[in-house]
Each structure stands twice: as C-alpha cells, then as structure tokens.
Amino acid sequence: MVVRIGSEEKGDCLVEVEPGRDGLTVETKNKDLLEEGIRTVVGEAVSTLGVDASVRTVETGALDYVIVARVEAAVRAAAPDRATPIVPSVDRDASERDRPRRSRLYAPGNRPRLLAGIEVHGADCVLLDLEDAVPLAEKPAARILVKHLLATVRFPDEVWVRINPLDAGGRDDVEEILLGRPHGICLPKAESAADVRALSELLRRVESNRGVDEGGTWILPILETAAGVLHAEEIASADPRVVALAFGAEDYTRDVGARRRWDALLYARSRIVAAAASAGIQASDTVFADLDDAAGLEEECVRARDLGFDGKGAINPRQLPAIHRAFSPTEDEIEYARRVVAAAEEAEANGAGAVALDGRMVDRPVLERARRTIKYAGRLVGRGEER
C-alpha cells in the first residue's frame, strides 16, 4: 500500500511511501543544486524512523523541516506499529508568565507555504493552528509538521499551538507537539474550569514523560461559546498555567444567535476583560476577519484597548502594525507610569503609608498596572516594528 502525504504546493513536499521495499527517489525542479541536500535530509529521516520503505519525494521549495515532517508522517501512516516518532532536539526556554502579548498571529499548521517565515513578522505570539484551519484527514500530518517547525525555527518572541478540543484529537496533538516545546497551548471552546484542568493535567503528564520543565507550558483558553463566556471567571482562575483569556467572536455569535456588531458583543467582551483582570491575567480580543478593511481593524483595536484588552488575534501579518499600535503603551502612559512608580518609591523611602501623586491617592492596582506598563515598555524598546 502506498501512502501519500503533503502536496505539490509551493513550499511543500509530496512524499509517497511504500513499506517493505527500499529505494529513494527525489524529484525537484532545481535538480542540479538541490537534489543532493534533499536526498540527505530524506535518508536521515527514514533511518531515524527505522522502517524499511521506498520513499519518493516531489519537492517544491520545501525547507528541511517540512521534508522531514512529510517523510515522518508518511512512514508512520504506512507502518503505524513499527515507526518510532522522531524526537527532535529543541533549544527553547519557557517564556515569562507576564510579558507583552499584544498580538497572536494565527498560521495554519498544515500549510508550509504559509508557515515559511512566519517568525519574521514581529508578532508577540505566533499561534500555529491545528484546529479550524486543518481538515480532519490532515491533522496527523499537521501535528508532525508543527512539531518539526517548533523544533527548528527560532522565534524572537512566543510560539503557541492551538490544539483541537481534548475529546476531538487534542490529546494526540499535545503528545506530539510537546516534543517541539511550544511556549503555550491555546485551548479552543473552553467552557469550564474542568476543561482547563484536564489540559493542565495532560500537560503535566506529557511534560514529565518528555523531560520538559513541569508547569512550563502556558495555557490560553479561548472563550467562544455562551457557556465559556458565562464561566469566564472560573476558567481564568482554574490553573496557574492560564496566562490570558481569549475571546472567539465567530463561534460565539453563532452560539448565541448574535450578529457580528460591536454592541452585540460588548457584554461578552466586558465579562472576559473583568474575569481576566480579577484573576490577574491578560485578556486578548478576537480576530478581525476582513483583511482588506484597514479602517475597521484600526477602530476595533482601539475600542478593544479602551475596554481593557491587552491584545488581539491576527489572521495575517498585515494586521500586526495596527494591532501593535493600539496595544502598545503610549508615551503619555509610560510617562505617567514612571511618575506613579517614582511617587511610590519616594513614599516608601519616607515611610509613608499612602502614595500620592498630583494631590491624588494612588492605590495598589494603579501602582501594579504602572509597574507592568514600564516593564512592557522596556520589552518593546528597539523591536524594529513596522510602521
């Protein structure tokens, strides 16, 4: 039986595997320069997998990790009992719990063409998607592709993975992709604290099996159903791994029968912001779906920021500049935060119990927010962001 994985789309690699035979065929448009390198990559992958098989690859500009992932997916599909998953070496540390997460840039986990260079656009979090973007039949191969991407590509900031719901493939997702050590897992359709705890427990088990720092993988629940929004508070405080709540407007509007207008979603957004704030975590707004409506995106970013959100999803790198503009602390905010912190330090030095600035009392939450603003501003200096 011949198994085919991947495609001839630009940046991808089509792999055909037939177990029990041997032989390695490489087809590439640029034979003179590329064939030898590709042959080495394929050969190493096959021997790591430890299965005798004939392998034919049609390469169309695929990077090494794509080729390895396609070969692994094909060999494992062809010989599920005999192939051992490849355990790549990964050089990535856990991320800080509290850091700017203004943008989370979605990228489909099954499309090498759209994944190539996804790390260069300056997103605070890149979110590799195994859920909605990936058709059911492609999920096993997408998991493997995402694993190898995670292991190979250096991300200047965070890289996360959106898995499938735990009862719909999410467990297999976690088993595979933790080998690539993402900074966090995005849990779709979170509806209760139990959902989050189930994921946390799974992460703990897999982390310990994989020798990854326990507790080092963060969770971002997406609230995109009526139940999820109503349980925002318990979800936000369900587990120490939860660093933020995200809102998913597409599914939410469908679930409650709303129309996608700002006013119609105001309650859900407000509730999520309040739940996140009360748990001391961040809130991230839904994606803006119309790629060509720059003014609409700009307006929604500003409104979401006004409401208290810390960031927003993006479906294309083009949306990042507007999102970053809206969710970065302004010069005035940074200046005010500096004065608040200075006033607090002065009060402490003087042994004063209360902190005052410009004749007004500064209470604890204001001081904490000021400290965070200064910290974030420091993290954002000299990042080379597009205008």
Partner: protein, 517 residues
C-alpha cells in the same frame, strides 16, 4: 587579470581587448562621440516600402552586419521574430543581433542561431535565449551584456556600429516620424531606440498604425528614418503593457516593502525635494505606495519620481506628492495615458538618465532607489544576470545606472526563495558592485554597508531591525542543507560590462555542479 571587484577576467574576450573594471567612477575614456554619415534627403523621396523583406533589400543588409531593436514591447514583441524570419528568407548569415533586450517571446532566435542567420548577440537575454547561450559553443563571439546607459554609451562611443536599426513603432507617418504612446497598441516611450535611429547606417520604422504626416510626439524623427514599413501586427497588446500590475500579497514581500519604506522615512533624504526611483516589481510597487502615504503624512513634496512608469507612481504624481515623473519606459496603461495627458510626466531616454560619458545623468539626482536582485553577497555585490545554478537568464536593465547614481541604493531581496538562500559568500556573477550598494533589505532585517555608518545610526534610532548580512545568512542556512553551486569551465559565454564599458565580470560555461557539505 583580476579586476577591482576581485573577478578574474580574460585580457581578450572574442575579438576584443578588455578593459577591466576599475571602480564605479574610476574609468574615463578619452575620445569623441561617433556621428552618422550625412546623406541628405531628396525632397520627393518616398520612404514607404511594402514589406520587411523589401526594407532588408533596400538597406543592402548583408552577411555579418549588425541589426538593432528596442524592447519597449517586452514579452509582447513580434518585430524581432518577423525581421529575423525575413533575414532567413533573404539567405543572410552571421548577423550580429543588437537588441536592448530579448524576452521569452524571442525563443525563435535560437533557431536562427542554429541555422546560422545570427552568430552573435549583444543585449540582455531574459529566459530561453539566455539558457541556450549558457550551454556554450553556440555563438561566434561571447555575448555582451550592457546596462541601459551602458548600451547608449557604447553606441555613441562607436563600440558598436549598427548597420540597420529596426524600430517597432505603435504610431508612425510615411515620412518616418514615430512614437510609442499613441496608435492601436501603445507600448510607452520608445526612447531606448533613439540612439540607434540616430547612429545606424539605415533606420527602418515598422508600424501597425500608419497615420498621415505629421504624427506626434516625434520620438523618432524623420531626419533619422530611411524607410517605413506598415505591417498587421508588431506586438501582442496583452503582453506589452498589463492593464493593472499586481501588488504583491506575499507576506514576505510585503514585509520587505514595509521595512524599505520605513528605512527611507528614517533616512536623511526624506525631506522636501526628495526623489526616488520606482519599479514595476511587486515589492517596488508596494514601496512606492507606502512612500506616497508617508509623504502625505509628513507633508513632504518630492522633486521627482523616476520610472518605469506605473499606475502607482502616477497616483503619487496626481496626489501632488511629487513635482514630476521622469520616464523612459511605461509598464501599464495608466502610465501611458499619463504620459499623454500630464505635462509633468516627462519622457526621457537612457542617454538623459544614465549615460556614463555624458555631462549629467538623471540617476545622479536620485536620493534613493529600491532594486531587486537574484543574489547578494557578503561584500554587498549584486547579481541580477545569472541564477545560482550559473545559467544566464536576465539582463542588467537600469540596475547599474540607478545603483551607481542614487545617494541611497537599497536592494530588496528575500533571504530565502523556496530552499535557496539568496545571501551568498560570493555572488555567482557581479552585475553591480557593493561599492554602490548602501542597504540590503530582507524579511529578516536590514543590512547596511559598513561605509554608511550614518544610515546605521538613523535606522537604529528609528527602531528598525538592523543586522549583519552574515547573521541573516546564518539564520536561513539553519533551515536548509547546503545547496550546490556551479563548477565553471574556461569558456566565456558572456561579458558583463559595467556602465562605463569596462568588464566587471564574465559568465563562464557551467561544467557541472558540486555540493559542499
């Protein structure tokens, strides 16, 4: 001998003695321009001939002569193929083909080389003809590639003597006036051909739209034209000028465009009177669009934008953000319409914009230009002629002229194309030397030529991601196993002239490929 960019150049190439490249502005030739033989015109002379075959006969075209063409029809040109077919019918041999550029549509040239009608080519070769010549052994002499300005200079200096110039013209009158911006199939300015028309022993205008005397503007003048031929078709309108050029949607290219525009804004040149060269590539169009917006935001009015004209550049003119467009080529129908309608959209020729031997080039007035490339190397040298496999596949265009002229030359190039890294230790061919390149912009950051510390400071202060070329190169090489590279033999396929007529590099025959681990 080794030239000033460290390339090994033979002392003779074919039948010519070689001057090696000495530096971008180091070489000065002593001499005068050549001029055409004065023939005079009897008052009654009828220039109209019934066919190209008749024109070939009337010109006395014979074996070994040089025939020239322009490329304003780009991949839509029919005239080169029509003329070569007629030459073959006339039994002519060993012609030297001297086009400004050849395109994939000129694949029949290969057959005319094989059957001996053409034995030499001097001109840009885009696509199949370049690949054919790369095989080696096909031409009697190595090909010669020149920039727009370099070709103009070579004709004026007498380096190349044209016997017959065949000039495709979208509109002409029977007395030999012609232009490219009117007629049934306008292609934009045909000013690239004016130097040929003025210097050739005979000049033939070939048109598909013959109108009563006088047609205007008179890009080609009656005083230069010997013969006029009307034919049914001179080009395929669909491939001459596209209705709308496509803005890139590739996130990688859009990021490169954004970073390029941001760097221009951060540069010392972004003030009133600012000038730039826009191009027709996807990245260039996006940069032009961003710059228009940035100028509007900053309240800056530029002095001029240089073509190839595009809808995008015309938009910047119409918004009042630049005072003029200087244009030698038009890439879409909006640009052609604007040349007809806008007094501030000025047609120029390569002599005006790029001739090294003249007393002034428009490119020297440019503040900035953003140019593409097939490869760059750690010395900032740029290759636009050969692919990484060693095959000759592209012309120089105005690359050298613009890069040498602009105060800040930016090369826009993805660090990776598919699995091919585009930053090399050494470029396969040097088209444009690193000494005239200031900034390389990739999706992974900008690299600034060490000569331009001043720009580095500006860019860093603006928060732009300034990085070393080595660093970007290493980053992408983590993603792909080493790729192979060509092993070159001795045979020279083509000489790459610098715009002053010296040889900056040669393309040699590829003997094989090797993959270093």
């Amino acid at each position: 001998m080794r030239n000033a960019v460290g390339r090994e150049i033979p002392e003779r190439i074919g039948s010519r003695d070689v001057e090696a490249y000495r530096g971008a502005f180091a070489f000065r030739r002593d001499g005068r321009k050549v001029a055409r033989h004065q023939k005079g015109a009897p008052q009654s002379e009828d220039k109209l001939l019934p066919s190209i075959d008749a024109a070939i006969e009337a010109c006395g075209l014979s074996d070994g002569m040089t025939i020239s063409f322009h490329h304003s029809f780009r991949d839509g040109d029919r005239v080169i193929n029509l003329v070569l077919d007629a030459c073959a019918r006339a039994g002519l041999k060993d012609l030297r083909l001297f086009p400004t550029a050849l395109f994939p549509a000129h694949q029949p040239v290969i057959e005319h080389v094989r059957n001996g009608v053409v034995s030499r080519i001097e001109g840009s070769m885009n696509g199949a003809v370049g690949a054919f010549v790369s095989q080696g052994g096909q031409l009697a002499e190595p090909a010669v590639l020149r920039s727009h300005g370099g070709r103009w200079r070579a004709v004026e200096a007498g380096d190349v003597e044209i016997d017959v110039a065949f000039i495709a013209a979208p509109q002409a009158d029977p007395y030999g006036n012609a232009n490219g911006i009117r007629g049934k199939t306008p292609c934009g300015p045909i000013s690239f051909a004016t130097v040929d028309a003025r210097h050739a022993r005979q000049t033939v205008v070939i048109t598909n739209d013959l109108q009563p005397y006088p047609v205007y503007p008179m890009e080609i003048e009656q005083g230069w034209t010997d013969w006029v031929v009307e034919v049914d078709e001179i080009g395929d309108p669909a491939s001459i000028a596209s209705g709308t050029l496509q803005l890139t949607r590739s996130p990688t290219n859009l990021r490169i465009a954004r970073l390029t525009a941001d760097a221009v804004v951060a540069s010392p040149y972004f003030v009133d009177g600012f000038s730039f060269q826009g191009g027709a590539g996807g990245i260039s169009l996006a940069v032009t669009s961003h710059l228009g917006d940035e100028m509007e935001k900053a309240g800056i009015v530029g002095s001029f934008g240089m073509g190839g004209g595009t809808k995008m550049l015309v938009g910047v003119l119409h918004r009042g953000l630049i005072r003029a467009i200087l244009d030698g080529q038009a890439f879409d129908l909006d640009a052609i319409a604007s040349i007809r309608d806008d007094a501030a959209h000025v047609m120029i020729d390569p002599g005006f914009y790029a001739n090294f031997d003249s007393r002034g080039c428009a490119t020297y007035q440019l503040d900035t230009a953003f140019l593409g490339a097939t490869e760059v190397d750690l010395d900032f040298n740029v290759n636009v002629n050969t692919h990484s496999d060693g095959r000759l596949l592209h012309g120089i265009g105005g690359h050298q002229d613009v890069a040498a002229g602009a105060a800040m030359t930016m090369i826009t190039i993805p660090a990776l194309r598919g699995r091919m890294p585009m930053i090399r230790d050494r470029v396969t061919t040097v088209t444009t030397p690193g000494e005239v390149v200031d900034v390389v912009v990739t999706e992974r950051g900008l690299a600034v030529n060490p000569r331009r510390e001043d720009l580095t400071e500006r860019f860093v202060a603006a928060g732009l991601p300034v990085r070393g070329l080595e660093e970007i190169k290493a980053e992408v090489e983590r993603l792909v196993r080493p790729v192979g590279r060509p092993i070159f033999g001795e045979e020279v396929i083509a000489a790459i002239e610098w715009r002053d007529g010296t040889v900056i590099d040669v393309v040699r025959k590829v003997e094989g490929w090797e993959c270093k681990k």
